[in-house]
Symmetry: C2
DNA sequence: TGAACATATGAACAGTTGAACATATGTTAG
DNA sequence: CTAACATATGTTCAACTGTTCATATGTTCA
């Protein structure tokens, strides 16, 4: 159990960055390629690509190639659940 | 919405550290004082106190004083939900 | 009041991290 | 094959973070 808590912290570390959270949020509405994501976040391609890599490593997103583009998508719906509950905490806190 | 994503990242940042996650986990079984928590994590009192402060600031824990001791407890059950879903992601990933 | 205890706070230092820049890899069309 | 495009990777650096040590604050009890 102790070990799992370390893995858990590592997982949340991934959610603990605004760039990555915004990427995940963008992907809630469906798969997108790197260019789309760079535009959406208004960040350079390299930064986005680096962060997508981390998301991939944590199995939060999956990728498929289509021609020259790489399409990223959420890998399962835990992501949506986690974001949803986090949001609840935030909005309740503001009351 | 954009703003909320930054707050969300800040929230997860708090979960993204093993010391803090372990503290939250300890508190799942009920309120504990700082000494108990230091012993449980085998960390010095100062480090634990510093981290508890962050947890407090994020409204993840609440405190009450009883004599010389400060008793910390989870402030609501979002914490439990978040940990639970995170764990699910991890265990599914291992399959 | 003052000693002993429990916790909090401040400062400093090492380790980590995200972004930017440059460049490499991989793909398609001509 | 090669130019143009899309994405990935390596490196560097400033900013941030967690722990430790020292010390301050707050509480109880004799």
């Amino acid at each position: 159990m102790e070990d799992e808590l370390y893995d858990l912290a590592d997982l949340f570390k991934v959610f603990g960055d605004s760039t990555r959270v915004r990427l995940l949020y963008e992907l809630l509405s469906g798969e997108k390629n790197v260019g789309d994501l760079s535009d959406a976040l208004n960040m350079n391609q390299s930064a986005v690509s680096h962060q997508l890599r981390l998301l991939k490593q944590s199995d939060l997103v999956k990728v498929r190639r289509d021609g020259k583009s790489m399409y990223y998508a959420l890998s399962d719906d835990h992501v949506e659940s986690i974001i949803k509950i986090g949001m609840e905490h935030i909005t309740e806190k503001k009351k």
